[in-house]
């Protein structure tokens, strides 16, 4: 379980302060497909970053496996990201001069695994997202949907306990987006914590937990287990 307690995040912009999160408390469970919605600028991405050890909150705690992630050193946070968390971004964020296979294997290389092992595992992961025949393509030679599937394969390569996706279908057409969401939805059934930020109201229907943010606060929180 990942539990955020009274998380605040304030950005200092010279004289002015931007309060991106104003006290958010939230609990995310494995097997739960959690969705965050809200207007642009409401703090969705910030929340995702704080939850994923990519950024530290100004105040509040983020507890995971009995540890407060906000107190970790930069190196410990990197290791948590490496072993526990997989990110999927709206812009895919693949490394441009690496092939699909290399992109997927990268997290393993960074953990000190051999190149041979990394590419074998990466091949499996690409297989899983249906891109076995695209493994030697560079991102620029792949469609948006394919790139996002590569990104999902990469997020899964270290067998993380949680997948955090920030508007993963934002750049995709409806059909492709649905396939991506199915993929993510399936991961929750694999006992992972899955948190997806989206604008897409259709996704809300699939959610086990739907959180709506407004101005850095939780405006509404619904458990929709009934729907399933």
């Amino acid at each position: 379980m990942l539990s955020l307690h009274d998380v605040q995040k304030t950005y200092e912009m010279g004289e002015t302060q931007v309060h991106a999160l104003r006290g958010v408390s939230l609990q995310l469970l494995p097997t739960q497909f959690s969705v965050i919605m809200g207007h642009s600028g409401s703090g969705k991405s910030t929340l995702l970053h704080v939850a994923g050890c990519l950024d530290v909150p100004t105040a509040g705690t983020v507890e995971y496996k009995g540890r407060d992630l906000t107190t970790l050193t930069s190196r410990e946070r990197a290791d948590v990201r490496s072993s526990e968390i997989g990110f999927v971004f709206q812009k895919y964020n693949l490394v441009g001069n690496l092939t699909a296979l290399e992109n997927v294997g990268l997290p393993l290389l960074l953990r000190g695994k051999s190149a041979k092992y990394a590419s074998a595992r990466a091949r499996q992961a690409l297989d899983l997202v249906g891109l076995a025949d695209r493994k030697n393509h560079r991102p620029s030679k792949l469609s948006g949907g394919e790139q996002q599937r590569v990104a999902i394969a990469r997020s899964l390569i270290n067998e993380p306990a949680m997948i955090l996706a920030d508007e993963p279908t934002g750049n995709l057409d409806t059909g492709t987006g649905e396939r991506i969401l199915d993929l993510l939805r399936g991961l929750a059934d694999d006992d992972k914590i899955v948190l997806v930020v989206t604008h897409n109201p259709d996704i809300a229907g699939m959610a086990d937990l739907l959180v709506t943010l407004r101005d850095g606060r939780i405006a509404a929180q619904q458990s929709l287990e009934v729907v399933r």
Partner: protein, 489 residues
């Protein structure tokens, strides 16, 4: 894992090809300069040291003129045998009547020498000193037999007289340096005469006939062959041998046509280094004629103008003590002269070479630093360009240290590539350079020294230079906040 980061770095270098190559080029230029200068420098040093090795470090020569630094310097510098001065009369290659009058313009005489120097330099005092010194030298002579008794550390001693004589062949005439070694001297100290290596004919057969051995360049200039006749001081001599070339540059080649001009002399006065010049004068046999002392003392008597005494120190005796003893002995003989050990000459020349090398190395170092700055700039730009990539790496679990290493590898690799290419180019350059420089440095033929130390040193250094230039940009890259980095365009 390092290997994987290494691959990643390679890919990155490849992905920004043009700028990478420009950066590598910057390092390459610096490394090329360093390699060329160092290998040539070491080559020159080894060649020079080999020359002294050949002569022998157990030799102390006694320069005829005292006071190693003041008047003596100029005097010996100007009068050093082997400066090829008297060749001038032959340089026209046209027959002219024998000139026995030593005061005739354009040929050698102490007076002309002084005037020429004075005119060129406007420095009358130096010219006066020179003339005095020459006169003193002409009258000074050490008794080598007595010297050996006075200084027990010495096992051998011999005197090499040098005269300037009017010389004429069938086709041409002028003044040349005539060295007069004794048979004993040739047996003991041929190393001082560059080995006295006969290329054609033979060495002196006896001390009864008027035989002459001719230096390589003199033979060429006078168009002499074995058996030819040549008049030295109006006395006929037969050419029995021609020496092989010493490979040394004519000292005055820088001045006009290798002749002793006032300019050339002034240069010698200004830059001359006594020990060096005396020694070079001896080892450079190319412009001299050799007549046995046994013969010369009979037919050319009374014309000796300068003599250098060469001594050999017995096994193990300390050189500096022996030198002191020799100095004392010279005093007792009421002669003048300064003992100079080969070691001193070697040290002096090495000092000069070392200084030149330092200057060249500094220039090379500047080139390297410029290359390093270029690299730093490239890496800095690379960090800016790759900010988002850094964010990606961090989001998938890269530690700060890994990002740092990745960038250091990147810049180190570029340094290394520059180093490898620079090594190749510098080696080629130094091989070509030695061809050009060899003669003008006066060390004859020598090869650049490119040994394992230089190769490893350059490769390690260029990698470290590359990595160091990348330290600051890489450190910045590693410290980037992942979220900020991901937000970058």
């Amino acid at each position: 894992m390092k290997l994987n980061l290494f691959r990643l770095a390679l890919k990155n270098i490849g992905s920004r090809r043009t700028r990478s190559w420009l950066t590598i080029l910057g390092v390459l230029v610096g490394v090329t300069a360093v390699v060329a200068l160092l290998s040539i420098g070491t080559g020159v040093q080894q060649a020079v040291l080999q020359q002294f090795e050949d002569i022998g470090y157990d030799i102390i020569l006694i320069s005829p003129i005292g006071g190693g630094t003041q008047g003596g310097r100029g005097a010996v510098g100007g009068f050093a045998p082997g400066t090829g001065q008297s060749v001038r009369a032959f340089s026209g290659q046209s027959p002219s009547p024998p000139q026995t009058d030593t005061s005739t313009g354009g040929t050698f005489s102490p007076d002309n020498l002084g005037n020429a120097a004075a005119n060129a330099d406007g420095n009358t005092e130096t010219a006066e000193d020179l003339r005095d010194a020459l006169r003193r030298a002409a009258t000074t002579s050490l008794d080598t037999q007595l010297l050996l008794e006075q200084v027990p550390q010495l096992i051998e001693a011999g005197t090499l007289g040098t005269q300037i004589q009017p010389v004429s062949t069938e086709s041409t005439s002028g003044f040349l340096r005539v060295s007069t070694p004794s048979l004993d001297f040739l047996a003991s100290f041929s190393s001082v005469l560059g080995g006295f290596d006969i290329a054609e004919g033979a060495s002196f057969a006896n001390s009864i006939d008027n035989q002459v051995v001719v230096g390589a360049r003199s033979a060429e200039l006078l168009q002499l062959a074995i058996g030819d006749s040549i008049a030295i001081g109006d006395i006929p001599f037969t050419v029995v041998g021609i020496l092989s070339s010493s490979g040394l540059q004519d000292d005055n080649a820088g001045a006009s046509e290798g002749a002793l001009s006032g300019q050339g002399l002034a240069q010698n006065l200004g830059t001359g280094n006594s020990a060096d010049l005396v020694l070079r004068g001896l080892t450079n046999t190319d412009d001299a004629l050799f007549v046995l002392n046994e013969r010369a003392s009979e037919v050319l008597a009374g014309r000796s103008m300068m003599s250098v005494t060469i001594t050999r120190v017995g096994g193990g005796a300390p050189i500096s003590e022996t030198k002191d003893a020799i100095q004392a002995a010279i005093g007792q003989q009421e002669a003048t002269g300064t003992p100079i050990s080969i070691q001193e000459v070697a040290d002096e020349i090495q000092g000069t070479l070392g200084m030149i090398e330092t200057v060249l190395a500094s220039i090379a170092a500047v080139a390297l630093i410029v290359g390093g700055v270029g690299l730093m700039n490239t890496m800095y730009t690379a960090v800016l360009e790759r900010t988002r990539e850094i964010g990606i790496l961090k989001s998938v679990g890269a530690r700060d240290g890994q990002v740092l290493i990745l960038f250091l590898f990147d810049s180190g690799l570029m340094g290394l590539m520059g180093g490898m290419l620079g090594l190749v180019l510098g080696s080629l350059l130094s091989v070509a350079g030695t061809r050009v420089l060899g003669p003008s440095l006066g060390v004859g033929s020598f090869a650049p020294v490119i040994d394992g130390w230089l190769v490893t040193g350059v490769l390690v250094f260029s990698f470290v230079l590359g990595a160091l230039s990348g330290v600051w940009p890489a450190w910045r890259a590693s410290r980037l906040n992942p979220v900020d980095a991901l937000a970058a365009e």
